[in-house]
Symmetry: C3
Subunit: 316 residues, 3 copies
């Protein structure tokens, strides 16, 4: 098994295939902990992890907090509305102040792309990107890749379709980087107004035919449609989107028997997918959520291990 040397997790494009595999293997061994009667190990006892969320989030914040608690770390949560941000301090100053309390790790979510990089550059604490703007959401992509590998035993050579608002999706971007690195074939599909120009340069195919994408896919990732995009005139109507790109039973008639229907949540039932598909035999949506805790436990464990090592060596 290769050694982990990274101190921050900002974007999957920074990781090699071996590094992604190390995360997935570590997560696999941690997943069992959450099924125990006593879901807790002392691994990160006495470590401090701060959630610094400038965008609201239920599942991602909970998932990180649970991951930290199950490893016995102490967690603290700072929501944007209650933070010093409202007093005009810069994000980096807020983070430096938090770090000065001997905090080991800051998990940050922000609506602006690049904020996690600013923190990673300015801090000694480990920084995890929990979603920045339209750019990256690496732990989401890792849990998606974990879920695919768990079902198929591999990722290389599989066909993965990503459907929806590719333009604004950090989930799509991180999955494209991670899945390409792992050797999957990716087809992106969505309304042309929501398809970034030149996306093919990332090594993906573009299709506007959802039926073809469904028929050829081993795993199909449906992206959440941000309703506010309609107000921004990117979409004619939600109803129109659902009719063309929404996945229902009828559209799945030519799907492979082992197709995985995936969604990062929260789902808009009746928009990206029908209720019978969300709750049906193809869906692994709740498995993704379960795996998210294991992935985050692995990330916390690996990054904090490197931080301890770098501190010991006097390098940070």
């Amino acid at each position: 098994m290769s050694e982990w040397t990274k101190h921050n997790l900002i974007d999957l494009k920074d990781l090699t295939k071996e590094e992604i595999e190390l995360i997935l293997d570590t997560a696999k061994s941690f997943k069992e902990i959450s099924t125990r009667d006593v879901k807790k190990v002392p691994t990160l006892r006495g470590k401090t992890v701060v959630m610094l969320f400038f965008e609201s989030s239920t599942r991602t914040r909970l998932s990180f907090e649970l991951a930290a608690k199950r490893l016995s770390a102490d967690t603290l949560s700072v929501a944007a509305s209650s933070s010093s941000m409202t007093k005009g301090e810069s994000i980096l100053d807020t983070a430096r102040n938090i770090e000065a309390m001997n905090v080991d790790m800051i998990v940050v979510r922000h609506k602006s792309s690049g904020v996690p990089n600013i923190l990673a550059d300015g801090l000694k604490a480990s920084v995890i990107n929990a979603g920045d703007g339209c750019r990256a959401h690496p732990t989401q992509a890792l849990l998606d890749i974990f879920t695919i590998r768990e079902r198929f035993g591999k990722v290389a050579g599989l066909n993965v379709g990503i459907v929806g608002d590719i333009l604004h999706s950090r989930v799509a971007r991180s999955n494209i980087w991670g899945l390409k690195t792992m050797g999957a074939h990716i087809t992106v599909c969505g309304p042309s107004t929501l398809m970034p120009r030149g996306i093919e340069q990332l090594g993906v195919k573009v299709s506007h035919n959802i039926d073809e994408v469904i028929a050829s896919s081993d795993a199909l990732m449906l992206l959440r449609l941000q309703q506010e995009r309609q107000e921004d005139k990117f979409l004619p109507s939600t109803r129109e989107y659902a009719k063309v790109f929404g996945v229902n039973r009828a559209k799945l008639k030519n799907a492979k028997k082992h197709l995985l229907i995936m969604h990062p949540g929260p789902t808009n039932r009746g928009v990206e997918l029908s209720s019978d598909v969300a709750d049906g035999e193809f869906s692994v949506i709740l498995s993704q959520v379960t795996n998210g805790v294991a992935i985050r436990m692995a990330i916390l464990y690996l990054l904090l291990g490197t931080k301890d090592k770098l501190e010991l060596e006097g390098k940070i």
Copy 2:
């Protein structure tokens, strides 16, 4: 002692006398823990309890969190404003996602009656109703019954008066179910606009004479007057309510010497009761709060025990 077999706590009308007694006896043994120098036992170490509060609450949320922490469970809190609800996801989907993180128990409060049932029906995690609409608030009633039993050594045969806005009170409804099951005699008293029609069918007496109710009661529960009811035209004025139904020293002149003045909080001093009564020798209002932690420790312990058993037997 009878065995506990329930997996959820939604409404006291689902519980037998033996089950309520088992909760009270368990709470009695747990109450001592909170008086120790080290207020913590390892009973629920590695269990995960999530507070899912769609209505704001200080004391109920704190009481549940403290109960969980004193049993060494991990707790996480989701407030409505920061939840995915604002992104249009259904409550059941939110709860299923939380459950998928291997959460053992969800404590839910919601302004709509029936939400806890929806969650209990759709989840394997244990569900505790921390108050739903005007319908039920079972842990409040249990702590009230505990407080009465603690003082009198029994509940059966006692006269309990419940005064105020019976129509909108989940506290009144849960106490009626629980106290009747335990054999108490109940008289409800309040303005006729705030008295539900046919309430006698629940086995209670209705009185509009507060003096008679005070004179005959062993315990008197004063319900919080929601000031917004006045705007809804249920009440002529708060001042008028306080004059007729507010309890002050003068009104207590014919009270039994051992009368308990109870209130679920937060109190409106000068409305439901005068300050000298709230802080006076009859008041057990703060004892109710103390007992609330013990009751919630007992509930967490009993429900999680059943959940573990059902899981072991492969039934959930």
Copy 3:
């Protein structure tokens, strides 16, 4: 070492030199814990500390929570917006209800001076003032004094300048009390509209010449300028303030080589101080934050020790 007998911490004017020294010495021994690989000791296991913040705060709340967690206490946080306060209950009633859950300590912040006294008078739980109105912020002053003593090995005889909005600053007031008690010489400096009349009666010098204050100081505390003061007509303009009282490299040309530049945070870069000063060699701003956790660990430890003793002796 003298013995600690206080049960609350409301204002530094209540403390003797020996008591302040005991806090500083205790903090010194606790500071090392936060640099360990496992930043946690079992000292306050099973104790319950509640943060009751009626004003928003990031760093002070985090600092107290981390201090409590590193001593293994359980912590709970109540923010004003979610508290019963919005239901019209008095602050003391809210606090009494929290205390009734066998809570050991309440850390309170409120925009009105005197609220911590009201709680201390009405409760058996220990009360810590985390900032009340314009009056006192004792833990901030203690961490400031700790930082000065740590650098110089003493406080007595040092010259400390406090610059800015003295009129509205609880940080200034608490530092004046604490530093005077410890034998420092204090000069306050700021716009005359923001200088309280008769401040000299507290034993401080008043100067309106920032250059003189800088030249003579061993430590210089820059107070945060509340931007809303300008709207209140206390200030002609922020720009004017920055020009006269803002500290930049040029103004430091006659400073002592060992000058400490201090700020309670959050800083307004470009107003109270320039960025190169904030991040420069004189600045101990982040050390103050680090020391804040140690000071709060010491306070929690000392106050809870007294509370346990008083309870044992039946005195509370």
